[in-house]
Symmetry: C2
Subunit: 197 residues, 2 copies
């Protein structure tokens, strides 16, 4: 069965185990098997720190899966969870890159969030880029997050899913996630499984 | 010559070009050639967005370099710049992973910064992890950032460099950067260049 690594700050939710179950159920509905990072069997190496064993289990999950679906909703700041960003970039760097589908539940651009948080300073850099109120450049490409993230998704041939969730479930709403599963189903319908990665 | 991709939010500094020159000068002092992302010649594809061309140039730089030195100082929030996180993860995912050296000018742990920003809530998750004041889990591994980032560096055989800079140059201080160049020099002294990656 086609397996999907479920990347996202969902592992930090108070009800993380339940959130993982809900995502895996949706995966099954679309014909996929979801791998939720918290479900990984951690190696019992006495000599390795827990953080090391989690890292290795997550890397193993990314390498074993057929695709990644990532929750890139801003987490504790203006951008996506950096652990999730690490995982999608790792997946794209592999010799046979894994297809990555991603969603955000905050449709604003990064520019909007940075300037809402730090303000917008007058003037422009020599290359005409804008300055935020913190005195540093803020890029205005109209993208949902740093261009490395958004372009990595887009250059695969599909867009990052942008979905407006209400405040109470801004990180946990699953409508964008389900739209990613629809993208994944269309992708895997077009390719032979052996070439799917 | 051994080339080093200079990853970091330095591209967003008001004096980004000068910051790049300073890093390249230090690279030369250690026998390396530094590649600063802003110096890339962007392909003149009329059909591609500027953000797409920057993405491609950065990926090309990472693929062409022999190593990455990354500024992982927290940027506009509790964690490192997500573009930089993307780049180091991509470098580590490659079939022949690039050695990545990284520094932060903020020696606090991520746990300290998250709880300073969001507070610490009473009680614990079922797996004994702590809750921040935002109602979500905050990991307390004593690491400088998300474990995916820190463990990726550490499992290469060296630690992320932690250096305390003063407030006025917290993002731009180059002492941690120079310590990374020392790590890189020791690394490349041990390996044949052809096996260096």
């Amino acid at each position: 069965m086609t397996t999907i690594y479920l990347a996202g700050p969902d592992v930090f939710f108070a009800d993380a185990a339940e959130a993982g179950r809900a995502k895996k159920e949706l995966c099954a509905k679309y014909g996929f098997e979801g791998l939720f990072p918290l479900d990984a069997e951690l190696a019992q190496e006495e000599s390795a720190d827990l953080s090391t064993r989690i890292f290795r289990a997550n890397i193993d999950g990314i390498r074993r899966c057929d695709a990644v679906v990532a929750n890139l909703t801003p987490f504790r700041g203006v951008s996506a969870d950096p652990g999730t960003v690490f995982e999608i970039a790792y997946a794209r760097g592999l010799q046979i890159p894994k297809p990555v589908f991603a969603y955000t539940n905050v449709p604003d651009s990064l520019f909007t969030r940075v300037t809402a948080t730090f303000g917008l300073a007058p003037g422009h850099a020599a290359d005409r880029r804008d300055f935020a109120g913190d005195g540093m450049v803020v890029e205005n490409f109209g993208l949902a997050d740093n261009l490395m993230i958004v372009e990595a998704i887009r250059l695969q041939g599909w867009d990052m899913v942008s979905h407006t969730a209400s405040t109470h479930d801004v990180l946990s709403s699953l409508q964008g996630f389900e739209a990613c599963l629809t993208q994944a189903r269309a992708h895997f319908a077009k390719v032979q499984p052996v070439y799917a990665a």
